[in-house]
Point group: C2
Chain length 140, copies 2
Amino acid sequence: MNNNTRFTVAIHILTLLAYCGPEPLTSEFIAGSVNTNPVVIRRILANLRQAGLVSSQGGPGGGWQLLKAPETVTLRQVFLAMEETSIFPLHSSDPNPLCPVGRTIQQALMRRFQSAQVALEQDLDRTTIAQLVQNVSEDC
Amino acid sequence: MNNNTRFTVAIHILTLLAYCGPEPLTSEFIAGSVNTNPVVIRRILANLRQAGLVSSQGGPGGGWQLLKAPETVTLRQVFLAMEETSIFPLHSSDPNPLCPVGRTIQQALMRRFQSAQVALEQDLDRTTIAQLVQNVSEDC
DNA sequence: CTTATCCGTAACCATGATGGTTGCGATATT
DNA sequence: AATATCGCAACCATCATGGTTACGGATAAG
């Protein structure tokens, strides 16, 4: 499965935005919590903005804000905002079309993988950013 | 999510073994269907053997055979045999422990991701190698 | 209007994962 | 003995990923 941490960081960012209240947070501040470079944060936030989850504002006092109530943002929405392709990639080189299995396996797998991804997304849809904020607060 | 094709190739191999009947198939023959190098095939088959799904035999006339009826082998078993770590990796560098969110987010995420993975596996468990063989046959 | 912030984005780099390849020893069949 | 096949280590090219620098543009504060 995918080996990048963008989904994890995206959730982290949104949880932080929800936790720290309505004031805008700068990418530098967020990077301090995530422990990475501000540009990495902005790259991910660009996707979240494209998905309508956050807005950005330049200049002093600027930064990033949530556009939706944390109760209404599910992990599924975040997952989709990251534009991951498929959770399971197919063959790196196309299989042998002269083999009955090679000729047909990819189409069959695409259907199965799609089904699995739907199941995954349905589970992700059951968790909201608000719930994660709740978790953090409990831990204090 | 993970970006490797081992799961896909593993399913391909097992489907081929089930489709081509009980005679052993060589890694070279399998590689011809998958369109890759025999060593790549053997690497994946080593995992499947470790999981008790196939057996291997050296020497002329040797090769690989299924150890279980295709009706009893689900995609979940294949998935687990590949020993993928977690479908969603956590941060590459640990988040800031001085931040309330950074300090607690990983544990919360591990729980959520675990839940999502269970949902995924449950869906994978609904498909057997026999069903994939059926798909191939229909297509002929 | 000038200055200090802050975002937006391109470009580059180091690192690691992945798949492909070669080589050779071990094993089993004939 | 000869052949076919696995087992496995070693190496390599390619690519994805995250980190970093750099710089232009926009905006708020004074």
